[in-house]
Symmetry: C2
Subunit: 381 residues, 2 copies
């Protein structure tokens, strides 16, 4: 199983794209290589790369390519998220989609055309970089269609599917051999009102999972509950049940100090990785994130200042040490035998998302089975 | 009377800040000097200079300073708008004021503190540039408090005044000898619901006016109506009546092809300048804008592609020729004698803005007086 990091530049966060500094990038990447990691996921900001639908900045693409080449030269695989979109509570939609130009980014034909051109441009720019593995449509872009979003775009599932199809066509047309994905938070799995339904996860070449214990699972079980370290595995098992035959990617996993006490972090990291790696279909784990947000940057949610493998001064954090140690000496939890499975509803079943929610009976049975030494797979009947 | 241009970079519009190119800037400035202009107004984008409240990018400030120095070396005065904010239908509020971080940019104490620091940083960066004359709070920043704005911030006039006071304090603390202004569209003069009331215009060292005939005056009188060329003068006269004793600045004036036919542009330019220059308190006219928006950039309102003194290929436009010719051979319309004045309500009078609206009797009387050869001043009784 490949282990890597979501690359958050240590100095300047993603605003460092505005002052791209290859020396700083090299330093950051060297640090990650030293931990034993083998890939990174990177995040250009949409509004900087395409500040107008008609302007895809060549220099911005070149900065991304330079970063990808530097990573590649260090033996790191690189996946690039295109539409950011959303990062650590901040939304970076371009001015041409907002206020006087307010547009539904999933249904407006002009916007879709511009987004497709951006996908194509990234694919052309990166497909020949040896370490580059593929693109993602964008980081948790589906948040912009969630009812909980303050400016949610109204959307049907048919429209969501049609939009995703267009994005994948654009990526694959220019980079047919890339492994392209799309990325979503667990709303897609658990929020019954979300227009991006679980059947759509199978559109990616790998099926991704973002595991954040500050969601329902943390609120339901409480801080430091032992089941929090099972959550990433649970998401992977659910993803496998809903998209059988597809390889999986635990694309985001982090140890938020609001739900995992500082002292418990090493244990949480170890157990999470041990469980995530026992799911046979899981190919990759990508830790969120490489570096803490610097305290000099304000208005981030408190949790974002403590998610890094390195702190803002470049020192390894407890999570960083635990990840490094696990990579050196991986422990793998016992996998389910496959003989015994729990039934879950099909991804198109209207009740599916309530049924699999981690505050419900199904999660409870599944977790109990692991705790009692007889892990169960999940299976659509 | 000083005549200049609102500087819109010919290549890349304001997105060119992302790829600041001093050679391109020099070319643009040389073109303006050749027209006989003596000043420019420039527009950094807020979200690029201060992408996080805690991060004011030194390199962005340096780009602005470099532009100001280049202008200064050519004998051009330079005024810098700080909070953009709004430009040509696009809103550039930073991510840290939007969606999950939605804040009232006029009342949130954290935002005001960050804005004040930005004002201070610009003042420190520019006050020693010989040609730099001062700062403006931001381009038509008051639009974000107008009821017609899709995401209008709720605001009282007391809050508006308090916010403006804080901004002026920040600018003046670091640049006491600068001439600092604030900039607003004619909603402040004519929209009775606007929280920024006309008495606030006197806070600037010069009182600014933005004259756009595509507003009420154009809709009421129709395309190519001769009174459209009187509108800038009218705004100046109203501004003088509401802020007597203050020098005036016609900070934006343009010839939108939606209301001024291509053939009529030279006449409109000449007459507008002739009338604006006969108002004794008016010190400056700044044409909007130096260059047409390039057709390669999309989603701009149609009118923005034809407002330049130069077209996207660098050729002088009819407006550019007319402005150059007027600067060489200025004609000045007969001023009002001062003996006869029309009474207008005080700026704090609740009915003032309806009374002075250019679709009303007062404008009609004022314009008729000019047309019949006996121009009248406006005066608060």
């Amino acid at each position: 199983m490949s282990v890597g990091a979501n690359y958050v530049p240590r100095r300047g966060w993603f605003h460092s794209w505005l002052d791209f500094d290859v020396d700083q990038v090299r330093e950051d990447l060297d640090d990650l290589v030293e931990l034993g990691l083998d890939h990174i996921r990177i995040f250009p900001l949409w509004e900087l790369v395409q500040p107008n639908p008609g302007l895809i900045r060549e220099s911005a693409l070149m900065d991304v390519r330079t970063l990808a080449c530097e990573a590649s030269e260090r033996g790191l695989g690189v996946s690039v998220d295109v539409l950011q979109g959303h990062l650590s509570s901040f939304d970076f939609l371009p001015a041409w989609t907002r206020t006087w130009h307010a547009s539904n980014i999933f249904t407006d034909p002009e916007v879709i055309e511009a987004e497709s051109r951006l996908m194509t441009a990234f694919a052309q720019c990166l497909s020949d970089v040896p370490g580059a593995t593929g693109l993602s449509v964008g980081n948790e872009i589906v948040q912009f269609a969630a009812h909980r979003h303050p400016e949610a775009a109204p959307l049907t599932t048919a429209q969501a599917a049609s939009w995703l199809t267009a994005m994948f066509e654009a990526m694959r047309s220019q980079w047919p051999h890339g492994r392209h994905t799309f990325s979503y938070d667990d709303d897609v799995f658990f929020d019954p009102t979300h227009p991006f339904t679980p059947d759509l996860i199978a559109m990616g070449d790998l099926v991704t999972v973002h595991s954040w214990v500050f969601g329902t699972v943390g609120r339901h079980h409480g801080k430091d509950h032992p089941r929090l370290a099972l959550f990433a595995r649970y998401l992977l098992e659910v993803a496998h049940a809903w998209a059988p035959g597809k390889p999986l990617w635990l694309q985001e996993i982090g140890a938020p100090l609001t739900y995992v006490s500082q002292d418990e972090v090493p244990d949480f990291v170890r157990k999470t990785l041990s469980h995530a790696s026992c799911v046979p279909q899981n190919r990759m784990v990508t830790w969120w994130c490489s570096a803490n947000v610097s305290p000099s940057l304000t208005r981030f949610p408190e949790v974002e200042y403590g998610l890094g493998l390195f702190d803002a001064d470049g020192h390894l954090t407890p999570a960083g040490r635990a990840l490094r140690d696990w990579v050196k000496h991986p422990e793998v939890a016992p996998a389910a035998s496959g003989a015994n499975a729990l039934a879950i509803p099909a991804p198109t079943d209207p009740g599916a998302r309530r049924a699999v929610s981690p505050d419900g009976a199904l999660f409870d049975s599944w977790a109990t089975a692991i705790e009692t030494g007889t892990p169960l797979t999940l299976e659509v009947q």
